[in-house]
Subunit: 198 residues, 2 copies
Amino acid sequence: MELYNGLINNLIEELASLPGIGVKSAQRLAFHIIGLPQSRVDHIANTMMKARAGVRYCSECCNLSDADTCPICSNGRRDHSTIMVVESPRDLAAYEKTGRYEGVYHVLHGAISPMLGIGPGDIRLKELMTRLEGDIQEVIIATNSSLEGETTAMYISKLVKPIGIKVTRIASGVPVGGDLENIDEVTLLRALEGRTEI
Amino acid sequence: MELYNGLINNLIEELASLPGIGVKSAQRLAFHIIGLPQSRVDHIANTMMKARAGVRYCSECCNLSDADTCPICSNGRRDHSTIMVVESPRDLAAYEKTGRYEGVYHVLHGAISPMLGIGPGDIRLKELMTRLEGDIQEVIIATNSSLEGETTAMYISKLVKPIGIKVTRIASGVPVGGDLENIDEVTLLRALEGRTEI
């Protein structure tokens, strides 16, 4: 990238450091940004800095928010006695997009992973346990269906069950519209184990 | 996107306005940016603003540069009597990556397109003609192999030939490693027309 002088190279490098943006996309983005009016570029840059400075964790569910509580936790029409535990804000967004879940969430910001040295103290578990001191009917564990997600689910269920709160896990199985022949064996076995009468 | 409060939504919207970044990537980037230290975010934002403010056209070849002349034009070891005419800085970058072209460039910043209302006066043609008053041996036209690129090539050759400067066009044909059966008919015919003795 010795084609361009410092300023352009710097911009390409910074953009390429973002996840999912390779050198080629970074180059395209850089040229696009350089072609925008200065006021637009300043606006985008300021939006980035302001978002970073203003966003914190919701004091209830630990979702990202720029107010003390996120829009979901401050919504009185949601069922605050049902908590769905997810690993990340993106997982929350995925469930929220279904438009059918009425309860609230708890964002762990990670999953237990002995391999990566992430223990129960490194995710937002303590905050979850504090919430369970209130009037909670059910904890739905919606961590990913990966080794880390399953480990985390198991760990949480062992913590929560003794308190006498119902703990459930979202179902594993064949995705809707999925073609059996393209689905891995572990999923097929899970689907078999989790079969229900019709 | 009513899941997040204003600051996060603003950031996602700004990122999604960039080319090649959809809502999902924008969301992922936004969460990544919010997870970075404030100093990193400030640095990225400032790099954007500084690049936009500092970058201008090279006074010789019209490539983007943050100095009066770009590194290629100010390189004394390049052949300044051979000019390759390209549509965009990205096309220049593509040829420069081959590492084998020794001449200099001229960036048009567009191509003639009667359909889009882009005429000869809207691209950097006047600047090219001014350069041709100097000691130029050859003009290599490397505009894209599209309708607009071909139109532009034709237009430039008609302007330059009468001055007595050699005008050439890069070859059209089957790409190296290309499978004949997957190549469109126009390219196959071009390859046939442009055949050379072996």
